[in-house]
């Protein structure tokens, strides 16, 4: 029964890759059982960044469009769902659906401006930063979402898990995020094997050549940006209900946008599993460094060592850790 299911989910993957995927999934399912609250919070953070990384990777890794303002989309998703819930009592999932539209609309505007007026590469990235910053400043004066005072979600009923209203203990959020991450993995895998994914890769490699082969570059880039933003917004929505506190200065922070790019960067930009691998390496690494530097009374040095580790990984494995792991584990065997 499992074989056809796997085949449907992951066509073309070799037997070793499938076994590895099942094993990884089993580990991820069992991992949070019986761990401390602290470890669980780290695991949830891993999944948050894995998921954000997957969303960002669609735009940069597949379609080659650099965004350094993805906090805009996660922030819009978080604020839309949270504000609708707090102010109007709208169900979180309905709110997240609204968040998808808001984020995709914002992406469409940025994409339209960038792609219609040929703002490319670094300049496009600056445009994405600019929009995230406008929004951060705007939300600081937006009273409906409580502006700088911060939007707080009621945390009264945390003793039981209710996925439908997204109220419950952290472990519920772990599994919700895991489901989202797996779902996104399947979506990305499917997309890459379809016309839209192939066109994205063509655009990433050479826009001029792609256009000459009949690719409507403007339209396909817009698809990538909107899908990336929509997925990111859902992650933001779930994060909002997990974290329960939203401030514009943290939700739309430039540093947060940049942090989102690190997992795919380390795991392997443009690969399917890279963002997940990267997140599960970087997040614990950051935590370990925090613990170590605290222990040694070197508090401020955590960022310094984190930076050094990042540079080392990028220098040693410039295409990311996942492609290297993939070869080392011989997962390519039998793939079609």
């Amino acid at each position: 029964m499992l074989a056809p299911l796997m085949n449907g989910l992951m066509p073309g993957a070799g037997p070793r890759a499938r076994v590895a995927l099942l094993l990884a999934l089993a580990v991820l399912l069992l991992l949070p059982l019986g761990v401390s609250d602290y470890i669980l919070s780290v695991l949830i953070l891993c999944l948050v960044f894995a998921y954000y990384g997957q969303a960002w990777n669609i735009m940069m890794g597949f379609a080659g469009q650099l965004s350094l303002g993805h906090a805009l989309y996660t922030g819009l998703g978080a604020y839309t769902a949270a504000a609708l819930f707090v102010n109007l009592g709208v169900n979180p999932w309905v709110g997240m659906l609204a968040g998808i539209f808001v984020a995709a609309a914002a992406a469409a505007i940025i994409g339209f401006l960038g792609f219609r007026f040929s703002i490319e590469g670094v300049y496009f990235a600056l445009l994405t930063i600019a929009f995230a910053e406008f929004t951060r400043i705007g939300f600081n004066h937006f009273d409906w979402v409580k502006a700088t005072a911060g939007l707080f979600l009621p945390v009264a009923q945390r003793d039981f898990n209710d996925v439908l209203t997204l109220r419950g203990r952290p472990i519920m959020f772990y599994y919700v995020l895991l489901a989202m991450t797996v779902l996104t993995l399947v979506i990305c895998h499917r997309l890459l094997r379809s016309k839209i994914g192939q066109y994205w890769l063509a655009i990433r490699e050479d826009q001029v050549a792609a256009q000459t082969l009949g690719v409507d570059v403007f339209r396909y880039k817009l698809y990538a940006v909107m899908l990336s933003a929509g997925l990111a917004s859902v992650g933001g929505g779930i994060y909002a209900f997990y974290y329960n506190v939203l401030f514009p200065d943290t939700m739309f922070a430039l540093s947060f946008s940049i942090e989102m790019t690190l997992a795919p960067l380390v795991g392997g930009i443009g690969t399917l599993v890279g963002p997940i691998v990267g997140a599960f390496i970087l997040t614990p690494l950051g935590e370990v460094l925090t613990a170590l530097t605290d222990e040694l009374h070197l508090g401020g040095l955590k960022q310094f060592f984190y930076g050094i580790c990042l540079v080392l990984i990028v220098v040693v494995r410039p295409t990311g850790l996942w492609p290297w792991l993939y070869r080392k584990l011989r997962l390519d065997r039998g793939a079609t």
Binding site: R193, S194, K195, Q198, Y199, L201, A202, R204, E205, D206, V208, A209, A210, Q211, T212, L213, G214, V215, D216, V217
Partner: protein, 241 residues
């Protein structure tokens, strides 16, 4: 024969330079026409005007009687124009097969069908053994073939070839010439080629258009054109005559 491609008085300037000035020519359906001229004559600019990379300042481009002037490159491709780039532009990070399949996706939405079509084209151009190789790792002659394969995969009515023979050995030129001749005879593919390798031009083109300083200075059958004094002068200089 009706004209598949008709270029009517197109002009284009870059700053003060008239790269192409009032150029007109036609490519009949099923024909092979050569576009020659010294470096800087405006041949590639002509291609770019036809393929939609630049909009002409003046003039019209008609494909199958339909005005495609100023169309975006992807629209021109959908209208039935396939083109190669003189400076090759492979999708370096993708496999050879993927490169060609992306071209084939113009006519289908199914990646599997596009991949099958890509293999046929690769087979035709002698690249099938390299299908799983990264395009960036190909040699220059193979990259030139890949350019042709990719353009062919879009199933164009007319193929614009920009110096695809450059850098090939004479035997390889002959192989390419045969490929185009077969495509032309068997599938009725119309071809407009920019070429410096006269061996190829003479073997393929029924008609030649000669550009110099952005203007047409001669046209006609190959044998007549290569004896035309104006052509000899622009290639060899006045003293040589």
């Amino acid at each position: 024969m009706t004209d598949l491609l008709e270029v009517r008085g197109i002009s284009r300037s870059f700053g003060g330079l008239r790269a192409v000035n009032d150029v007109s020519f036609a490519v009949p359906n099923g024909a092979m026409v050569g576009l020659i001229g010294p470096n800087g004559a405006g041949k590639t600019t002509c291609f770019n005007l036809i393929a939609g990379v630049y909009k002409p300042d003046a003039g019209r481009v008609l494909l199958d009687g339909r005005d495609v002037t100023g169309f975006r490159p992807d629209r021109v491709c959908h209208a039935g124009v396939g083109r190669t780039f003189q400076i090759v532009r492979p999708f370096g990070g993708l496999s050879v097969e993927q490169n060609v399949a992306i071209g084939a996706l113009r006519v289908t939405n199914d990646v599997a069908a596009a991949t099958r079509a890509a293999r046929e084209v690769l087979d035709l151009l002698g690249l099938i053994a390299r299908k799983d190789q990264q395009a960036a790792s190909l040699t220059l002659p193979d990259r030139k073939r890949l350019e042709v394969a990719r353009a062919l995969a879009t199933q164009p009515k007319i193929l614009l070839l920009d110096e695809v023979m450059a850098g090939l050995r004479p035997t390889e030129v002959d192989v390419m010439v045969n490929v185009f001749r077969d495509l032309n005879r068997q599938l009725g593919l119309t071809i407009l080629l920019i070429e410096h390798v006269m061996r190829a031009v003479m073997a393929l083109a029924q008609d030649i258009v000669v550009l110099h300083h952005g203007e047409v200075i001669a046209r006609g059958a190959p044998e007549a054109v290569v004896r035309d004094p104006a052509v000899l002068e622009c290639y060899l200089g006045e003293e040589a005559l």
